[in-house]
Structure formats: C-alpha cells, structure tokens
C-alpha cells in the first residue's frame, strides 16, 4: 500500500513538472478511432435465424487518445444497444470500458488504469483485446517497466481483470500479480550486435489471489502461482525458440467430465519452434505439449473466454476462405493436447519453366493435435490429481488434423490465380463445435482469380467446394467482387448446402455487400443470410448464430 502511495505521489509531481517543464509550444495531439456495427434482424425459420424482440442490434466503440511528449492518456467509450446477436450477452449498456494514463521515457514506463500486455507467447500471461470475439481481459491496475541497462527489460504489474461490461467496466474479483524479465544478450554486449549468433532469454512469474468459491466440498487454494522460462536462439538463417510454463494446482469445476472436476494436478505447457528460412525457401516446425493449463482469475464457472490469464495458442494455420475458416476451425483444447505443425514454403523462381514469368509460390501446411496419454489413478477421494501424464506422450485419440496446400501464381500483368486444397479430420466428440459429436472428415478445394481490368477497376472470382459424408454434408460457395480503387467495392456471394441429407435444409445463403472507403473512413453494408458458424480470431473461436437481415458498419480513425 505504501508503495502504491509513493507511486501515485510521484505521478502527481510528474504531471505538474511535465506540463510546466516541457515543450510549451506543442499543446499535444488528440487522436482516436471509432467503430460501429448496426444490424436489423429478420426472422428466417428455414435457417434457424431467430428474431430478437429488440429487432435491432448495435455495437459501438470509440477510442480517444491524448499524447504530449512522453505522456499518453486515453479512454474507450463502448455501447451495446442492444448487443449484436452472437456477441457475449454479458456486454450491455453504454459507458467507459477502458481508461489509462501512461508515461514512458527511454528506460522507465508507468501505466495506471487499463492496460494490455503479454509475456512470451502468452501461455503464462496475456491481457488482450479481440473486439470481434468480445474478448477483453485488460488489467486494471498499475504497471511499471524498467530497463536498467541496454538489453534488459523488467516489467511488474498488479491489477484486476476486466470481466464484463454493464454500462461500464466491470472487473472480476481476482487479483493478478505479474513479473517478467527479458535479456537480449546481443543488446547487452554491444560488441556482439553484429554477431550471427543471437540469444534472448526470459522468465516470468504470475500469481493470482482469488476467493471466488462455489463449492463447500473442497478447499481451494486462494493463491496460485505459475512460472515460465523462454529462450530464443538464432544463428544465421536458423532460429529456435522454446518456452516452458509450470502452474501449481488450480482446481476448476467441470460439469461435463467428472475426471476433470476440481482436480489438484499441476499444469504444464511446452512450446517449441525450429525454423530455417532464406530467399525463396522456408521450413518451419512447431511442437506443443499442453496439459491442464486452464488459467483463470476465478475458480467458479464463467463464460469460456472470460477471465483467462493465459493464452493457449492453437498450432494450426488460420484459414481465411469461408468454408475452411468457419465450418471446422480448431481452437486449443483446455484439458490438454499434444500438437505438431510443419510448414514448407517455396517460391519457384521467375522466368523458369515451372515458375512462369513472375514466379509461383507454394505453401504446404500439416498440423495435428492429439489427446495426451493419461493414466487415470483412483485418487478422487484423497489427493485428487486424477491422472498422471508425461511430456509429449500422446494417445491415439486424435483431436484435429489439417493438411493444406496453396499455389499462387501471377499469370500476366492482369491475372492472378490461387488454388487451395484442404483435408480436415475433426473430432467433434471432443471439440464440440459443430454439434455433431462424432468424427468429421472433410475436403475443400478453392479457386481464387483476380483480374485487373485497368488501373482502377478489378474483378475477383472465388469458388469453393467442400466434400464430406458427415455433419451437414457437402457445401458450395461462390463469390464475385468488383472494386473501383480507391473508394468502392461491391460483392455478391452465395453458400449452398448442396449435400444436406434433409432436402429442406439444402438452402442458399445469399449475401450482397458493398462499401465506400475514403482514407481511414470506411462505410459498408450487407444484406442477406448468414449461416450459423464458428468465428475465430487467433485460434480462439466463438459460435455465431444464423441471421438474416441488414448490417451497417462504419470505421474511422482521426
């Protein structure tokens, strides 16, 4: 408490000195951005689009930042009037959801209020914002950063996590204390800056204090700590990175599987990456072992993306073609998984027989995730560790597999072509995203053509087809897009569930979309049907219900 007082006093003095002492001629800069999305819903019983009683949905965000020299301050005003369908319903009303003051010099920085941060890959700690998914677990508290010598970075912070929004920011009850250090060897030893060998090491400690408890049967630890070490090495064109996280026992309720209900097992995470890349060729391999790494600042049941302290990256490629991205996308399994991924990129040189006049790019990606090998021990009446497991020991039970190839080629000055093939194995019994609860085997092919008519006008055609005997069967997708640089675009697209066993559900999901862009201002609308699907950003997914209606959106920055 005493420390906090000293810091607050310091800040106060600083503001006075800063405002009086600095560059008086410059009044500072105000900048900001705004994003609004409005939807008008129509009922559509064929695609299961429900009509909410408020008919309209609206989400709005406006950030205002002020900067003067090394001082920054800002707020974000948020409105959910009413929250868009599919967005977390725990976001409602209108008010301020984020505010901060910060000051940063060459080697010291202070932030008070809300802030975002990440240690290493984020497995141990990541406070971040993914507005499209309704994720915002910013920390509300105080952060200090300090760089005592060149190459050494220290960070310490304490705060509460943003949980929901009800006419303003609502924090969770838990308190997070986090410390991170990172040493860049080459920057520390100035003379080694030109070395081909580069090394960075880092370490973190994060602890939470939480008294939320919905059970009278178990004694839950009120303080839970996690620690991690990480290493980045590079020699010439080869790089390696590794990270290890260990979390002490942290029991959570689990209504679906009693073997994971309030277990007192430690959590563990390992992330490895090895890569080689040069002009025209790259190969990259990643491996991940993750077990019992669910890590929230509360130990009661909350929404799946609420109050998460750590971020568990999925080792799969994030796809952008509609059918590949939204039907069977993968997110990390919270219980644990062993995952591997291999990428090979090759650019066939230009003016070669195979490469053509402009060269051809090929990208191969292969990813798998399996359930860890778990030996369940009958200790639920005593120690409740539930099972034993060992690092990188995986079972036969597959969670996900994805093999995909992309070939891109510029045919001539006007025509670009991209061909893609995807092969998925998706265990919906474990992943429970498609509500099919069995294995799904699917293949997708995509052809994407871009044709430049002249300097300002261009056309894009996209066709996709998916083949599967499971779930909702085959799908077809087509899109035509016309753009008039730099201001206009219009697109018409259709998805057709051609292979649904239920003939009534062989529905066309037609959509028309148009937009106007002027500098940093962008206005767009779309009208039509959207199928229920899974919307993912950065390996975190949210199920979006089917809808039919009109959507307006506007984004701008100033």
């Amino acid at each position: 408490m005493k420390l906090r007082l000293v810091i607050l006093l310091t800040l106060l003095i600083f503001f006075i000195v800063n405002i009086n002492g600095q560059d008086l001629k410059s009044p500072g800069v105000i900048s900001g951005n705004i994003q609004t999305i409005g939807q008008y819903y129509q009922e559509d019983s064929i695609i299961n689009a429900a009509l909410p009683e408020h008919l309209y949905g609206f989400n709005g965000f406006a950030n205002i930042n002020y900067q003067k020299g090394d001082f920054r301050a800002g707020i974000r005003y948020e409105s959910y009037l009413n929250t868009l369908e599919g967005y977390p319903t725990s976001f409602s009303g209108t008010g301020i959801g984020y505010r901060y003051l910060s000051w940063k010099s060459d080697n010291v920085g202070i932030t008070i209020g809300n802030f975002y941060d990440q240690f290493g890959s984020g497995m141990i700690f990541r406070a971040y914002e993914e507005r499209q998914l309704g994720i915002d677990n910013s920390l509300d508290g105080i952060r200090l950063t300090f760089q005592p010598v060149n190459g050494l970075f220290l960070k310490g912070m304490v705060g509460k996590q943003r949980h929901v929004f009800m006419d303003g920011l609502v924090n969770g009850n838990g308190i997070i204390r986090a410390f991170d250090s990172e040493l860049n060897l080459n920057e520390l030893l100035d003379s080694s800056n030109s070395w081909k060998f580069k090394a960075t090491i880092g370490g973190s400690f994060v602890s939470k204090f939480n008294t939320d408890n919905n059970t009278s049967f178990f004694d839950l630890p009120k303080n839970v700590g996690a620690s991690s070490i990480r290493l980045n090495l590079r020699y010439n064109k080869i790089r390696f990175s590794g990270e290890y996280v260990h979390k002490i026992n942290d029991p959570y309720p689990d209504n679906q599987d009693s073997r994971f209900n309030y277990i007192y097992k430690n959590g563990e995470g390992v992330l490895l990456n090895l890569g080689y890349s040069t002009k025209g060729f790259a190969v990259d391999f990643s491996a991940k072992h993750m077990d019992n790494m669910l890590w929230r600042s509360t130990n009661v049941n909350v929404g799946p993306t609420d109050l998460l302290i750590g971020y568990l990256p999925a080792l799969t490629k994030q796809h952008t073609y509609n059918l590949a991205a939204t039907l069977y996308p993968y997110a990390t399994n919270f219980y644990g998984e062993i995952a591997y991924q291999l990428d090979v990129l090759y650019k066939i040189p230009k003016k070669s027989f195979l490469g053509g006049k402009y060269g051809t790019s090929i990208a191969l990606n292969f990813a798998t995730a399996h359930v860890p090998e778990r030996n369940f021990i009958e200790d639920m009446e005593s120690t409740r560790t539930s099972y034993t497991s060992s690092v990188f020991s995986r079972s036969d039970s597959i969670l996900f597999q994805d093999f995909n190839v992309e070939i891109k080629r510029k045919i001539n000055k006007k025509l670009n072509i991209s061909l893609n093939y995807f092969n998925f194995i998706f265990n919906d019994d474990a992943v429970k995203v498609a509500n099919y609860y069995k294995m799904i085997y699917a293949q997708i092919a995509v052809m994407d053509l871009t044709y430049k008519i002249n300097r300002h006008h261009s056309l894009r055609f996209e066709t996709q087809a998916m083949w599967t005997n499971e779930d909702k069967g085959d799908w077809l997708f087509g899109q035509i897009e016309y753009t008039f640089s730099p201001h206009w675009y219009i697109a018409i697209l259709d998805q057709y569930n051609s292979g649904n066993e239920d003939l009534k559900k062989r529905v066309h999901y037609g959509l028309i979309s148009a937009g106007y862009i002027n500098g940093s201002h962008r206005f767009s609308f779309q009208y039509g049907k959207q199928r229920a699907g899974v919307f993912c950003v950065g390996g975190v997914c949210r199920a979006v219900p089917a809808s039919n209606g009109l959507t307006f959106s506007f984004t701008s920055s100033f």
Partner: protein
Amino acid sequence: MKKLLFLFYFSLFNFVIYSQLPNINLKDVNGNNKNLSKLSNNGNPIIISFWATWCKPCKAELNTIAEEYDDWVDETGVKLIAISIDDARSSSRVEPYINVQGWDYMVLLDPNGDCKRAMNVNNVPHTFLINGSGKIVWDHNNYSIGDEDELYEELVKISK
C-alpha cells in the same frame, strides 16, 4: 525502488522529440528491439503498413509494392515499415513468409496490438504515409488493386 524513482525523476528533464509515432518498443523478426518513435529516415518519407500473415489483401498490397519498391526508394528515398499484428499463434509464420517473398522492408512484430492501438488501427490493412518530420500526411484503411498508385502519387507529392 529508490533507484527506480531516482531514474524516474531524472528522466523527467529529458528533451522530447516531437513525433506522431508512438513511443513503443517492437521487435523485428531477428529479435532486435526497435523504438518506433526513434526510427528516422534522414528526413525522407516513411510508409507504415499494418498487416498479418492471415490477411489476403494485406499481402496483396505489400507484394504489389514490393515489385516497384526499388524504384520508389530511388525516386523518393522512402522506407517501408511493415508491422505484423500476428499473435503468438501465427507470429512464427512472419519470418518464413517475408523471406520467401523476398521483401526488402523493415518488418516489426506487434503481437499484442500495442502499436495497433496507439496508431488507432481498427483493422488491417491500414497504411500510413509519414513525412520527413514525423507527421502522418495520408492514411488508407483497405486495399484494392490500384490503391498503390494513389499511395505513390501522395509519396511523390511530399518528397519534392
């Protein structure tokens, strides 16, 4: 702690260079730390383009500019900084991609969106043109074929 406070008081009196670029440390793909507000191009213009490995229009924009980049540099002295907003899931894809494509840009990583937030970027691609004194003179949020011509015209205007 005392030392820290001392340093803090001391640094209050440091001189501040005015720039519209935020005082944020970002890593390049080699792991070197770069402070955005301290990057200069000897009074020549800078283009900052926010992109991601999963963003098709972003890659189209930067690949298109890459074909003409040498000419742009010769004519205007411009330097392009491509800031990737890929997070921990995909940030390991950045280096292989840029090496295979052979981009000559400075590529920085913004895995938790700090720089994106500070520069008021809502979505990618978002491209800024910054003049020799660090002021943002033009920006564009989107990419469609032909937009690179508008950027080039603006670039030529400020480098005269």
